[in-house]
Symmetry: C2
Subunit: 519 residues, 2 copies
């Protein structure tokens, strides 16, 4: 089939020239283009009726009231709960129905996370959707090097790639663990990279209270103390120790972010049958209970502090007992969690490009697509792990990051929905062309061609013969070429030398204060 409108025109200066420029843009000049989030203009996909949602909320209330949640080794958290009217016995806290919802009324429905480049600041909440790369993998993988422990060099590469990819609006946090840096010091290098190598918004450390404090302090060096006290400039991702426990490491970090007026993302990790019941409805009720408690704690620390309702559901392979991802149960679960988060009027973090595959093969991309699309359809606002996840989160993949980011690009067009204006309806084109003729050269096609369809950066849509003659490259090989080119083309965004120096001074000072810890 020959359907290239460029070939239908007489001169290379006409359509061919524009098409060539378009191609140029889509290949590299679009990189690092400025897309500060995307607005979801399509409806959410609501699975349950009001009755079902109330049943889940009631179940969460029963768990909170009868079973309760333990806040371990954190007397300050227990003091706050006691003062708020919760039933505290030892480290176990129980909640009357309605108490947490009342406390959560001070949490903002939506907030701005400021980036050091104000044009990249993002709104988290409402119909806004923010994509961020994967978080936490100790391993990295690329096509040539295979799987290996991540290093600071890898971490920096991923920060640069997230900066270059316009469809990722956020730099994320621990994109991979830089395991060549001591455990108690790597947060300094990671936050430093997020502040220097990119100007997108980012996440700080949560693995110890002092590391959370360091992260926020580094943000203050860049944004200024007063600005940070009044605005959100950093996120911290706080995991519950499901089932029904928050340990002191997490609540200390949570309180550090909240008292600095920075946003905690509160996320249970429930692998059904292990850290929660094996049935999805029960896991959702548990997730709701845990997240409400964690989010409410931020409001006791500082009413009005931004907080994100987080969710992470997975399923299990019956044969091996391994966690599975991109399966139907968590996909449905996300849709329900979205409904519940909207009823709480809290911004939602949900799902991501999840897979248990070790490589970016067909399994990985089916699972990731199912998982990501559910996150978008459920109305999630902050989608962490949107690019790069492999192997249940143990590995960050270079090629996977590119393929996932390409799907993120596609989701921008998907979320824009369908316009039904006069031009889109094209009745004039039908009158012009009539039955049995082609639309290639008609005025309507020429006027709309360049903006008509989303165009992938990595898909191969060419003929078999062209693909064969170009070496039969698969998606992974194309993605490999793409991330290598993006890294080559990378240029850091400008940073005030005085700030740069102050960051270096802070990092050096902190690194010299303590001996290295390696685990």
């Amino acid at each position: 089939m020959t359907a290239d409108p460029a070939s239908e025109t007489a001169t290379g200066r006409g359509r061919g020239g524009r098409t060539a420029r378009q191609r140029q843009r889509s290949q590299s000049q679009r990189a690092a283009a400025l897309i500060a989030g995307v607005e979801r203009r399509i409806p959410t996909y609501d699975l349950l009726s009001e009755e079902g949602l109330v049943a889940l909320e009631t179940a969460a209330d029963v768990i909170l009231q009868e079973v309760g949640i333990e806040f371990r080794e954190d007397p300050e958290a227990l003091r706050l709960w006691r003062a708020a009217g919760a039933d505290v016995k030892g480290e176990l806290v129980r909640f009357e129905p309605g108490l947490l919802r009342q406390i959560l009324k001070t949490a903002p429905k939506s907030f701005v996370q400021h980036a050091r480049n104000p044009a990249r600041s993002v709104t988290i909440g409402g119909n806004q959707v923010i994509f961020a790369p994967a978080y936490g993998p100790p391993f990295v993988r690329d096509l040539e090097g295979g799987r290996r422990y991540g290093t600071l060099k890898d971490f920096e590469n991923f920060v640069k790639l997230a900066y270059m990819i316009p469809w990722l609006h956020h730099s994320g946090g621990t994109i991979c663990e830089p395991v060549d840096i001591p455990v108690n010091k790597r947060h300094l290098d990671m936050v430093s990279s997020h502040l220097r190598l990119t100007d997108k918004p980012f996440m700080g450390s949560v693995t110890a209270e002092n590391r959370a404090e360091d992260s926020i302090e580094m943000a203050r060096i860049v944004f200024g103390h007063e600005f940070v006290d009044r605005n959100c400039v950093i996120l911290g991702n706080i995991n519950a120790n499901s089932p029904l426990v928050f340990d002191a490491t997490m609540t200390n970090a949570l309180r550090a972010y909240a008292r600095a007026n920075q946003a905690a993302v509160v996320v249970p990790f429930i692998l059904g049958g292990a850290m929660g019941p094996v049935t999805t409805a029960g896991a959702i009720a548990q997730s709701l209970a845990e997240t409400m408690a964690g989010c409410a704690l931020t409001q006791l620390v500082r009413p009005g502090a931004p907080v994100i309702f987080g969710n992470f559901l997975s399923s299990m392979a019956l044969r091996s007992g391994s966690p599975t991802f991109g399966t139907p149960e968590p996909a449905l679960g996300s849709l329900v969690i979205g409904q519940l988060a909207r009823r709480l009027e809290l911004p939602l973090r949900c799902s991501g490009a999840f897979t248990s595959s070790k490589i970016a093969d067909g399994q990985a991309m089916t699972e990731s697509t199912v998982s990501m699309l559910s996150a978008v359809q459920c109305g999630a606002n902050f989608i962490l792990h949107a690019a790069g996840w492999l192997e249940g989160g143990l590995t960050m993949g270079y090629e996977k990051m590119i393929l996932d980011a390409d799907y993120c690009a596609s989701l921008h067009t998907y979320m824009a929905g369908m316009s039904l204006d006069e031009n889109q309806m094209a009745l004039g084109a039908f009158r012009e062309v009539g039955p049995g003729k082609h639309f290639f050269g008609c005025a309507h096609t020429l006027a709309n061609y360049e903006t008509a369809f989303w165009d992938s950066d990595t898909a191969d849509n060419n003929s078999f013969e062209q693909w064969r003659d170009e070496g039969e490259r698969d998606a992974n090989q194309r993605a490999n070429a793409r991330w290598r080119r993006l890294l080559q083309e990378y240029q850091p965004p400008p940073l005030d030398p005085a700030i740069d120096e102050a960051l270096t001074e802070f990092v050096t000072k902190r690194k010299n204060e303590k001996p290295d810890m390696w685990h």
Copy 2:
């Protein structure tokens, strides 16, 4: 992570034994299991409001009234239109708004397509969803043999695989073109295979009126003349020659199916910017106009004949002008088409596992997943191309068929939705386990474990180390092993020897009547 409940129990006869049996089932004994369609218990995902749908219907009415549709070289079709009150000038037919909807009132909302094994008969319409393999590719591909022209041997293999895969409810039609058989005789071998090698419902030929008649006649040999006259036992897939044309080959076949009371699937093929406008709303309006006209024609031939509203939207790569699939525009388009088909109260055929990738790589599976999930979410009833499609429909892939079928399996669980009964809510489990403990061995987990989660037949969810030690096989390699095993295990379903003989006699007679045609 060790989360295998089997390891938590004392004896191999307990959970371990059941898990082993479960594994056995999922590997092979489940093959050819009897699943006659799946009920969609989740809501459809409705993109547009009433106002938007009316705007599209009005646009379709304008196209039908002002531009019209050509029915080429088929005087009988023109006679039927004239008698029905349409405005016929030469071969151009124009329709007053409302005329086609009025004619379509006699078409059934839902009908049963009978299989020769009654337990495999499927209902097409309502909330029922039927998956069928890809249709039409001249090429086939497998991991060892690469891409080559399809043969009757390949065709038979695909019929056998579709029979062995329980998640495909339907044997489809031209799963691949058997190009080693003359063009004017291959329908005899294909229909013969569908009637002998499987007992699932199937599709007949449409490439010439006499081939459609032959297909129906062969069904009569198996089902009996009277039964066929009263019941649907075969489908014919009728393509419009978009834009706004039906040629005689197609309408002659359509009329053959309709007068035999068999179901036509009426499907425009609109590649935006070529066979229709480059804007999605316009393409949908056109699709609605063409499909309504084609479906209505069946009702003029035989009021009450079953008919399926078909849809096929694609997009275009700006850089090459090639068709693209699994992109956001047709995904949104499917959602809207679903809404429009429901308003017409016709069963819907929509989308499938579409991709432009030449191989079953990450691109293929992202695109196919997006495309399939839209078909399910839009409420499609008959999903042709649900497994095997590669290269824009030019190639049928052995491994792709397995990977797609695995996603079809997953969609069975997805469409079942979420139960919120007392057992699913698991409040007793929370009371039993309490904060900070694992759910592995609790009574609720043991009672629900085997039915808790969907389990893939091809995904690798094992640890990296296990996957590495087993040879680092990717999804394609696992799929390759699976289809080879399924073909080895294949046993044909029983067929009355007298019927078998009568089919042979019919095929031999027909083959001897005419010289071979090779194109």
